[in-house]
Amino acid sequence: MSESTPPDTTTESYLTPRKDLYEIFGQPSLSLKKKKKIIEALDEIDGFDLVFIIGLILETGLTGALNIISEENEISGINFFEGSITHIDLPDKETYFGNLLLQEGLVKKVDLDRAIKQNEMQMGQFLISQNILTVQQISSVVLLQMRLRLSKLISSKKFQLNFVEAATTNSLIKISLIEYFDLCHDWITGRFDADWFNYHFLPWEKKIIKYNDQLEFQDKIFAKPLFTNLPGLKEALKKSTSIYELKKKYADNRLMLLKAIHFLSITALVSFSEEQTTTATESNKLELLYLNLKSKKDDELIKAFSLITKIKEGNTEAIYVEFLRILEIDFNEKELVYKNELTKIALQFLTKAHQQQQQTKVTSKVNKKNDSEIQNILKTVQMDLFSNNFYEAFVVLKKLYEGNEFGQKVKLFLIWAKIGQALKSKVKVNIKALEDELVSVLPEDKESAEYFYVCALFGKLKNDKRIMQINYEKAVKKNKMYQVYPVEEDTLLSKFKKALGVT
């Protein structure tokens, strides 16, 4: 036998494994084995792709463990049992069971310490045996833990994964496919960014969308907030349309449209056929790519190249080479002009990315705010919000938001400031836009008292007494502090007081 070295993985296909993955629901006759093979073929994926992969495993009803390995070699995992998620393993202290019990106000520290110290039974069982918690309370915290842990995996972080079929055990506490769709809705609205969608959909931009009207849950899916401001989408999808055409129809709400299409593709309600729409029979992928990239500023360009090539920012040469390869794959004679322009843009990327890498080395340590600094800023901002100093809060939050410090309720507080200012000044605001923003709040923030409080304020802004009351009650239930800051309808007396400047 002659000797050979194993094939080099770095030259494997652009988009193809991912493309196969996202086209899976367009091939209903695909065997289970082939579906598993498509998952196995995936190289590095990002956390946003995980949303689809988990959905696929649930839909195929597989039982086993999805092992997820991050770039930092952190190991996480998800256990599945016949179409349900039964366990999330994530080495994350914030979502330790005990921490969550404390956060939810279900146990006292002293009781938790006792439960940790004993080693006769599991913590939950011990707390039940001591009549400190009920089975229902334990179940609700385990579910909360699963939701929070899943949310933490959904990010732009890169992962490798493998699925191991195994006889894992069933669990009474689990996330079903339909419950998973609820989570997907929140992640897609709140966590995915616009650029990801633009590049994600490029291969299917002009492909005919196939609508699957056999699925029972379709009405439930279309009733979700994501579709509120996309009237007639369901009907449009049934008429052999494409993303390209839908973008024209919903020109003022394109991001929401892409989010909606992606959400529907996870539920298998839509998939893409190989056929293009009749108005777009010619392939013009390079033109679309050029239109997407031509006006990008330096930072945006660097991010966009990473998204297109699916290679992490910082690997400049690898991104550059992969991009040129993509140009070759998608090239047709009619697009020569766009290929040339894109090659120039690629060179521009190369220069800018090198410059940025040099600058980053110098400035990153100086500029980046750490978590505790942001927490302190947010505490001050929250006091401003409670004191009706909405504009001051808005200025600080906007700065944080533009500095990409998205986490830790920044987005939620920003919406709070906007609604508060609108209520205070009585200026007419775009309710629809605010509603979209509220839908886009980070999923984990949607569990917080602050979120319900902001929803209550939004109810007040919309003159919807029911929404106002329900959400205010939820906020108080989560955190008693909100009793001090009631959200009430404006009465004649309160209006009179406001006019006099009396609080």
Partner: protein, 152 residues
Amino acid sequence: MSRCEIKKVGSEYMFDGTIDESFATVVNEIKPEPVLKFNFKNLKSINSTGIREWIKLMQKLSASSIELYECPKPFIDQANMVQGFIPANARVMSFYVPYYNEDNETEKKVLLVYGQHYTEGKLNPLPPVNDDQGAPMELDVIESKYFKFIKG
């Protein structure tokens, strides 16, 4: 068999079942020796907690020379993705490669042996594999990914 069981048969530790959260309690049976031989013929699967526990075991046994025999696909998948899963003091002495015939949906696992089918950084051309009826079978793994660990 779901949880992992470890039995010493002759000079080999035989692993049976699933490497998972229960692994931490059973590995105490393994005592450091100059050369340790682990056999995974009956290993069914490994989950994320099991991977972490395995890495801990490897760290604990860093002074031994570890030989890994009859490694199944779930084990090799982790070896290809997780740093430290097969540390420098360990070597895969043999591992299974799955084959498949799409026409009659039959599967076969072929054992590749160190020194015979592969050595450090080098994989010999894979032998042709036929099913029981003599029909040729296809490799049932992604070639470029599955043999990555051989490169070291």
